[in-house]
């Protein structure tokens, strides 16, 4: 049996479609140049030094006790944060799906799940310091503790858990909703108590999903740069060590080798999560709930659970609210009245805030439509088309998901500062706005692609086939059928990309040059210096911008989304 002819014919058909061909070639070039190449150069650089191929750089960094400690720290924090976030997420998800609660509590849950999306990554660190630090509102003024040290291990763990648990909550909520209630009813019917139902039915079904949530948070935690930077103090993680190796020790080879170590850890975790747990989750929980679940109304269960969750939710919300309020106090920790706008004013008068917001805003605004369109094109190709390089495109865009921003940043420094493979070619883009835009695009691409893929999977393949069959070429099929049908997903991808870009820091902080002022970098700088009020003022305005764009998106989708018209009648 030879399948040569069909392969040759498929190739011929592809060649007959120049737009598709060009798109694929451009995509492959982009992905190779800006995702694969920077990662490859890290490996090459750390293995191939001035004296040929050797492990010298690796052995050098592994001799640094600080680096060995950073690996331990990172793994320890990742593990604990993964565990705590999963548990907290499970609690929230279980209460939402199983327990009858008041509308207001449901609202609280929604806010909690939404907050991490719209806020910059280090907001919780800021408020943590302001609430529980040495001159913290709660520690010092409510409890009278003067020397509370929240910098370090516990600070990072708490802040990261509060930042990442909503991700687990959303993931687990989706899974719990997919459990068919009749399975649990069958167990109840045979005489099991609620607790036994949970331990013998619900929990085992959910187990792979819990593992999945744990690993996702684990990866997020070890890739996180901003929080350990601000609240870590002298407690270094891999991400911050790499940053310090570049900015402090000026050791780029060493940083490259460290980045390789971090990359290997995240990729390993990611591989387990993606190819083992995700499949297992899908296998155990593929069914749709056959009908609505009887919610638990028993007061002895609902009251404590609701109170527990509400308290946690209120605490999280308070942490976020603390930031804009903090920016209104004359001097945090000493003088609370009268409330003042002087910090907000200083942002613009003294600290070139206008330029920072303009730069961040403009760069993100350019990056987001590129990201949204690119991720829709990738999703379209991956889900709907059949061609040889499809596997490559899919794999690289998924791979980007597992690459920590810091690693990518170092990769770009090594890969582009002296041009491609240090030859000077393309070195022109280094230090420009263009490379920042590219980083924004690459960093948001995986999220966009993932949501695009799931949106496209919902659309019957034959709808596009029928357009193709009617005589439309690839471009026409994409613009007249695919894009209108996933308009909502495209719009939300647009905003997500914008929000992610404008709040990004980990890769950007390594690549930004003095000609560009970015808000997140500014906030980080002020927070490092201990100028919390001004950092809060910056952060508050940033949150306003991001929240505003999310509101705008929801408005547009509600009033102009085609999917609404399509879904309405069904």
């Amino acid at each position: 049996m030879a399948r040569g002819q069909s392969a040759a014919l498929d190739r011929k058909k592809l060649m007959a479609d120049p737009i598709m061909m060009t798109t694929i070639v451009l995509l492959i070039t982009f992905l190779t140049l800006f995702i694969l190449y920077p990662l490859a150069i890290l490996l090459v650089d750390s293995l191939y030094g001035s004296n040929g191929l050797s492990l010298a750089t690796f052995s050098r960094i592994f001799q640094l006790s600080s680096f060995r400690r950073a690996i331990g720290n990172t793994l320890k924090i990742g593990f604990v944060v993964g565990l705590l976030s999963t548990l907290l997420g499970l609690l929230f998800a279980y209460v939402e799906v199983y327990v009858k609660m008041r509308k207001a509590v449901g609202g609280l849950f929604k806010v909690v799940s939404m907050l991490p999306v719209v806020s910059p990554p280090f907001v919780l660190s800021l408020s943590m310091i302001m609430l529980f630090g040495r001159s913290g509102l709660i520690t010092r003024f409510l409890l009278g503790i003067y020397d509370n040290n929240i910098y370090g291990y516990w600070g990072i763990v708490i802040v990261q858990t509060l930042t990442f648990f909503p991700v687990c909550y959303m993931m687990l909520k989706g899974l719990l909703k997919n459990i068919d209630p009749s399975m649990e009813e069958a167990s109840r019917d045979m005489g099991a108590t609620r607790w036994r139902v949970f331990t013998t039915v619900t929990f085992p079904l959910l187990l792979p999903g819990l593992g999945n949530a744990f690993l996702v948070t684990f990866i997020e935690s070890i890739a996180d740069f901003a929080n350990p930077m601000i609240i870590g103090g002298s407690y270094d993680t891999l991400a911050t060590s790499i940053y310090l190796q570049i900015t402090g020790a000026m050791d780029k080879e060493g940083a490259a080798a460290m980045a390789v170590v971090l990359l290997i850890i995240t990729l390993g975790m990611f591989a387990v999560q993606k190819y083992y747990l995700e499949k297992k989750t899908a296998a155990t929980l593929s069914g749709k709930a056959s009908r609505a679940r009887m919610l638990i109304e028993d007061k002895s269960v609902t009251v404590p659970l609701t109170i527990l969750c509400s308290l946690a939710a209120v605490f999280v919300i308070m942490m976020y609210v603390c930031v804009p309020i903090g920016a209104l106090f004359p001097t945090w920790g000493y003088k609370f009245t009268p409330l003042t706008f002087k910090w907000f004013a200083q942002v613009f008068t003294k600290y070139r805030g206008l330029q920072a917001f303009r730069d961040s805003f403009v760069l993100s605004l350019i990056a987001s439509p590129i990201t949204a369109l690119l991720s829709m094109i990738i999703s379209y190709l991956v889900v709907k088309r059949k061609f040889r390089a499809k596997g490559f495109i899919e794999a690289v865009s998924i791979l980007a998901m597992a690459v920590p921003g810091t690693v990518l940043g170092v990769g770009y420094i090594r890969g582009f500062a002296n041009g491609l493979f240090h030859t000077g070619i393309l070195s022109g883009i280094y230090g420009t706005g263009l490379i920042l835009i590219i980083v924004f695009v690459v960093r948001s691409l995986p999220t966009g692609t993932r949501s695009g893929i799931s949106a496209l999977r919902q659309i019957d393949k034959s709808i596009e086939e029928s357009a193709y069959d009617m005589g439309a070429d690839s471009l026409k099929v994409f613009t007249s059928v695919t894009l209108p049908l996933i308009k909502d997903s495209f719009l939300s991808g647009l905003v997500t990309a914008f929000v992610r870009s404008i709040t990004a820091i980990s890769a950007i902080i390594l690549l930004v040059t003095p000609s560009y002022l970015l808000i997140t970098v500014q906030i980080n700088e002020f927070a490092e210096k201990g100028a919390y009020s001004i950092a809060c003022a910056f952060a508050s305005i940033l949150i306003l911008i991001t929240y505003g764009s999310v509101l705008l998106m929801n408005f547009i989708i509600k009033h102009f989304g085609t999917s609404r018209k399509v879904k309405e009648v069904e």
Binding site: Q5, A16, S462, Y468, G471, V481
Partner: protein, 362 residues
């Protein structure tokens, strides 16, 4: 293409077509379609029939261009089309799920193909109006597709494919999402329109009654290979194999021994009782008689003795299961009113006319 004149229907020739797929579980290659060689005349209605996994849909998709054959060449109107993409082929397909564009209304759905052909607006309007009248949807132009019933959506899909006047119209199990009554109504409709326009149609289905009702010719497939080609009556009354006989309607098989042939009928013995079976070839030795349930009579006298094991009133017929020797025989006694009804345990005789039976394995 010339926009005004109605086009000639095109013929299709599949020249030893094969398609190889990989079994996802074992990783082994297998023939999804193997050496399919056939010719479809312009203007005829041909059905690809078979159980799921027989390769009928794959064959259709190769004609449309969504799949490429691994062996052989496909000709459309005499031109080889293997290397053409679906949008360059003169075919239009009606999909199982209808595949209507949910963001367009009925009019825009139907007009889609014409707009792609850059036709003037007036002409588009005229053609769409005419075709919507043909499928009886004239007053629904502005409806969104999700405001239509299943049958109406089916008509829109049909109109959308017809309006571009394709050389060949392809149907991929178009009626399988409709309820039984509507299915019968729509297949009559499809046949009517196909005859009225004189268009070539290739139709995929797994429903044998649908295939018989609608087609000029049936191509019955099994495991990627053509099991039998022919007109509905030919396939029904002269199946070449037990698979064909069994797939096309209900069927009984009686083991027999052929003892002679008089130039028209063969004489065969079933359990020692002689019966006559019509055959145009001389036959002898062990064989099987193919008997349709409605071709058998049950009475107090007849050719073969039997015992009644099930007797069940079905409305239009009385359903019997009787034992002839060791073989269970199903009988549909049509319009039984006024005739004797046998009960379970009764002894009776069955008989059949020689031209209603068919010999296999000689």
């Amino acid at each position: 293409m010339a926009a005004n004149q109605s086009k000639e229907p095109k013929g299709v020739r599949l020249d030893h077509i094969s398609k190889i797929y990989q079994n996802p579980k074992t990783g082994k290659d297998f023939y999804a379609v193997h050496d399919v060689d056939l010719e479809i005349k312009p203007g005829s209605f041909v059905t690809l029939l078979g159980p799921s996994g027989c390769g009928k849909t794959t064959t259709l998709r190769m004609i449309a261009g969504f799949e490429s054959p691994d062996e052989g060449e496909i000709y459309l109107g005499g031109e080889p089309i293997n290397a053409l993409t679906p949008n360059k082929r003169d075919t239009a397909m009606v999909f199982q799920s209808y595949a209507l564009f949910p963001h367009y209304n009925v009019y825009d759905n139907v007009a889609y193909g014409l707009k792609l052909r850059k036709m003037p607006r007036d002409e588009i309007r005229e053609k769409v109006t005419r075709i919507l009248k043909l499928v009886e949807l004239s007053d629904m132009e502005q409806r969104m597709t999700n405001q239509l019933s299943g049958g109406q959506q089916q008509r829109v899909a049909l109109a959308r494919a017809l309006v571009v006047e394709p050389g060949v119209l392809l149907f991929d199990e178009p009626l399988s999402n409709l309820d039984a009554k509507l299915r019968v109504q729509m297949r009559t409709e499809i046949r009517r329109i196909q005859q009225a326009l004189g268009i070539t149609a290739i139709y995929v289905t797994h429903d044998q009654s649908e295939a018989m009702a609608i087609s000029d010719n049936i191509i019955l497939m099994k495991d990627g290979v053509i099991a039998q080609m022919g007109s509905p009556t030919e396939i029904y009354y002269h199946p070449k194999s037990e698979f064909v006989a069994d797939f096309i309607g209900e069927c009984n098989f009686l083991d027999c021994r052929v003892t002679g042939w008089d130039g028209e009928n063969a004489t065969a013995e079933v359990d020692g009782h002689p019966v006559q079976v019509k055959t145009d070839r001389p036959a002898s030795g062990d064989a099987r008689i193919v008997l349709r349930p409605e071709a058998i009579e049950i009475a107090d006298e007849g050719q073969l003795p039997c015992t009644v094991e099930l007797s069940c009133f079905m409305g239009s017929y009385q359903n019997y299961h009787v034992r002839v020797g060791n073989t269970l025989v199903k009988i549909a006694d049509n319009c039984p009113i006024g005739r004797k009804t046998f009960k379970v345990g009764d002894h009776a005789f069955i008989s059949f006319r020689s031209e209603c039976a068919h010999l296999l394995g000689v």
